[in-house]
């Protein structure tokens, strides 16, 4: 004991954002990351084969994301209040417009790349730019709305928006790698993005911890405190490292076999999920008024389980639907219809 302060009576307000928020941010971040990979391929060639797995991954994540977001509202039936007034001073309000613009763009792209969309192919270019712009807007608002919260020291640190965005891109490239491997399609630049992103991620986490080493929580040491002192969050950081390093290694050998690509993608998605869980739940567990952390028992585990089952279940349904809708490969430049693939 150094300063000799003992809390005799203290109170805990609990978690305002539950697990649903973690799922939402992961899914919408992955969707934006995957969409950007698809966009880069589409800029070169709107019929490039590597567009399809990236669009598939983006659409699957993006179309699922709105549900955990609604579930995270404690009054979900009032979601229309976002649109019945204006609150331009709130980043979350801007996000409430960016999200449907992005998801709507994704849905339209899926339609244009379906068997019904060939006749509207001329509109693809505009839709790609629309969706890419709003994918960047989504990445910016999700990172921005948390970074401005000065009351949460971890979220307010300089590294936070960078690492959150990086994890979204890694997760998005991981999702693309999984879809490409499972559907037997070309992953495009996804493995390179995954490998580069994972390397940057591992270095970034290490630098972030080192930057906060020995500092006070409110003076830049919040992430280091979370990583090194919070239990079981520090265990999860170890898992993140394993996922990051594992994802990197697997991505480097991904070109040798589809299995390696799928495993690297899975590690990237799981790593991003764990990392974001740490930042979201760990960030809330880190007390505002006193040293220490909230008891993790305050997290409603039934709610967490419901979130997991609900989100993964919905994702599975969306994947099945997309596997039929995006089963159409369109026409190649030489006029031949490309081979169809099924999930």
């Amino acid at each position: 004991m150094e300063n000799g302060i003992v809390d005799l009576i203290s109170f805990d307000q609990g978690f305002a954002w539950d697990h649903w928020a973690v799922w939402y941010f992961l899914l919408v971040g992955s969707a934006a990351g995957a969409l950007l990979i698809a966009f880069i391929a589409a800029v070169r060639d709107q019929n490039a084969p590597e567009i399809r797995p990236a669009l598939f991954a983006a659409a699957a994540c993006g179309l699922t994301a709105a549900v955990p977001l609604l579930a995270d509202l404690h009054q979900p039936a009032r979601f229309m209040h976002f649109y019945l007034g204006t609150a331009p001073h709130s980043i979350m309000w801007w996000g409430s417009w960016f999200l449907p613009a992005f998801v709507g763009g994704l849905a339209m792209l899926v339609v244009l790349y379906s068997p019904f969309g060939d006749r509207f192919a001329a509109y693809r270019r505009y839709l790609w730019y629309w969706t890419a712009i709003f994918s960047v807007a989504v990445l910016a608002y999700t990172a921005g709305e948390m970074t401005i919260v000065r009351a949460r020291p971890v979220w307010h640190e300089t590294f936070f928006p960078i690492m959150l965005t990086l994890s979204a891109i890694i997760s998005g490239s991981g999702a693309v790698s999984i879809v490409a491997a499972v559907r037997g399609q070309k992953p495009g630049i996804a493995p390179q993005v995954l490998a580069t992103g994972s390397a940057l991620f591992v270095v970034g986490v290490a630098v972030w911890i080192a930057a906060g080493w020995g500092k006070n929580v409110v003076d830049g040491g919040a992430f280091a405190d979370l990583a090194l002192n919070a239990n079981p969050v520090n265990l999860l950081f170890l898992m993140t490292g394993i996922c990051g390093v594992g994802g990197l290694v697997m991505a480097l050998v991904a070109s040798r076999a589809a299995l390696f690509a799928a495993v690297s993608g899975l590690l990237a998605v799981v790593g991003a999920l764990i990392f974001r869980w740490e930042l979201f739940m760990g960030g809330q567990a880190q007390l505002k008024l006193e040293a220490g952390f909230l008891p993790h028992a305050l997290i409603n585990n039934n709610e967490a389980l419901a979130g997991l089952i609900g989100t993964v279940g919905l994702l599975a349904v969306v994947v099945v639907v997309l596997s039929f809708v995006l089963n159409h490969e369109g026409e190649n430049k030489d006029g031949h219809t490309a081979s169809h693939s099924v999930l």
Partner: protein, 244 residues
Amino acid sequence: MKTRREILSLSAVAALGLAAPGSAALAKPQSQTSSTGDTPRWGMVIDLRKCIGCQACTVSCSMENAVPVGNHRTVVSTYEIQTDDGPGQAVLPRLCNHCENPPCIPVCPVEATFQQKDGTVVIDAEQCVGCGYCVQACPYDARFINKQTGVADKCTFCVQRVGVGLLPACVETCVGGARVFGDLRAEDSAVTKLIRNHKVDVLRPHMGTRPQVYYIGLDDRLQDRVEAESGSRQLRNQDAQQES
């Protein structure tokens, strides 16, 4: 010579005076206008030298505002701290600071939380979507999601009482008269006099929120994030780990 009715009336007034303990009643606000005739700016001064940590304010607030079990609009954090004379007890009543620059308001995506002309920060429970963003933004942990209503909740300076000329419940019940409520704009109000005549501090001043709850006798070690190294929360964490 006084009639029996007048004597009974005086007795009732005297009894009420005893039932309303402390000097808090001196600061009783008069509806929504101050002595200057302008809109008041409500604020609170908490004299920590008088607070005995009895939690009467905590209980009365919960009763007055029907706060669900497990949530608090106000609470008295209590610490053991080292003094020159050895270990001593320090108390710190916490509540919404009704800041001049409240970080909870601009983040609200549906404008459900706002500041009244009298400075009180309140929430429109019908408009709130329960997104919890304001809860995150408050650096004083004064907000929470009400388990029963599903919307953000916090201290309102008992707006329903102050509006009809009563004191906030916590002030009314403060045994030691440590909590004083009044108009910060009025030169002759009890809060203004206390601020003028004493060294006062606010919590977490570096956050730039300009809190309007002032403390007399605040220990420097309690002004910001309290570096408590052990205690009741640690025990709760251990219990939680054992249970899980």
